[in-house]
Subunit: 301 residues, 2 copies
Amino acid sequence: MSENRILARIRRRARLPVGAGLALGIGDDCAVFRPTSNREDLVFTTDLLLEDVHFKRDTHSAADIGWKTLARGLSDIAAMGAEPRFCLVSLAVSHDLSERWIDGFYSGLLALARRYGTPLAGGDLARAAKIACDIVVCGSVPRGRALLRSGARPGDRIYVSGLLGGSALGLETLRGRALKRHLRPAPRLELGRYLRQRLAATAAMDLSDGLSIDLHRLCMESRAAAELDAPLPVFPGASLDQALHGGEDYELLFTLPPDRNPPAFFNGLPLTRIGFVRRGAPGRVTFFGRPLPPGGWDHFR
Amino acid sequence: MSENRILARIRRRARLPVGAGLALGIGDDCAVFRPTSNREDLVFTTDLLLEDVHFKRDTHSAADIGWKTLARGLSDIAAMGAEPRFCLVSLAVSHDLSERWIDGFYSGLLALARRYGTPLAGGDLARAAKIACDIVVCGSVPRGRALLRSGARPGDRIYVSGLLGGSALGLETLRGRALKRHLRPAPRLELGRYLRQRLAATAAMDLSDGLSIDLHRLCMESRAAAELDAPLPVFPGASLDQALHGGEDYELLFTLPPDRNPPAFFNGLPLTRIGFVRRGAPGRVTFFGRPLPPGGWDHFR
């Protein structure tokens, strides 16, 4: 097995679709993207996915890891209300893994990439002691229209999509629908676009580290406080603690002015009002009147 | 130490310059870039830098690692003849490293970022067993004018900038100017722009893995062969083997039509003709008439 041969395989499999805006994909020092309009903003995200930090090899197949690597990036694109345009992926594989494992990784990643029209335009490949993946996704959004964390205003209502705590439950029990949620999260791209175009959400972000810490961050950016005063949409079987603090649900957290009512479901996905934004110490979150310190995932705590 | 606190520190230090084209930097789900013209192509690269693969902690300070992480990305931008616009960096730090180490990493990275006007627009932060860095750099180039690997034609002459083998020598001896070359490589951005604007180079790439394998790759993309028939510009003290196969020199390899003569020096940097492109099996490289198999760095050999 040689690096050149592996790269040639990936390149064949990631053949660029016509008209994707990419003038050049895998095979040069850089990928080349040709913006078709100067009425669009481009949005960029990068996320690490590391063995024994974000996943374990005995619970995640190669294809699961490839899928999840891209899903993390696409979830950030969804949170901006943007359309994905292309992605790049850096992959370090450990010495004991075969070319078949690498194939599996790209199968999972490319399956999700095809579903959301996100061609793989480049990346990097290395060997290391443990698996390390880094995803880069570029998306586009009409100029000045990206959904930000900083736009929530006192009085706005706070909503979440889907059911919370499923990923944490799946990680704990390693079975059932919860495990599937953990292994193959679905980026909420259609919902993100709907929040921007139809609901004109004032703020949005994706739930990657846990509701309590992510809502705290949204409030910090919006210089506001929040009160959670309604039942959370808890994933069947998950605990309240998993719904409040569990990471990796990749649902969207968003805010709307009080006079704007979203439907109860969007394409079958529940949209639940869980609280409201209010004046107060920036970042302070209360849950039925009591302080809710940011829990969830913090690499440095 | 908490993730939020570290992120707040990085964000203060990476404050965006006015007019950089960035509408939004660190602090949201994505960075937002606003293209000012639709006459430009955007180029993208991503590169891993991993502990015990690309560097060792006892030879590289935190600031060296930060510098080198960005230098790898900027070198790819230089190879396209592009201008850097912004960067993102993902960093996983090991558990025994302090906030001071993280500060040092960003000091090295931001020193190079300032030198080349490349604001840090976002990234990711995690803890892991070993240090892992992934850099993303976006650059811009007039539409359709990026320097590619695929443009070399039989008869073109092959050139390299600078002196080869210095980084490999520095890694071996761990001292002197060679070590400095290894720790703090200088991306050849001014030269890349000059190659595009003034010399209209037919092909270019950066030397990251070693001349023999990188020239092989350039020839593969150009569907041509190459003969090296002139003395190499060898770094003082380095061996011919280090000059032919040593990685991480981050010099530029480029081709020009035979009637186009570059100066012997560009801003003090020697430009040396080392061979010529010819018809033949794609990727085949000969050195004074003998086959030169691709050596250099291959993670998978």
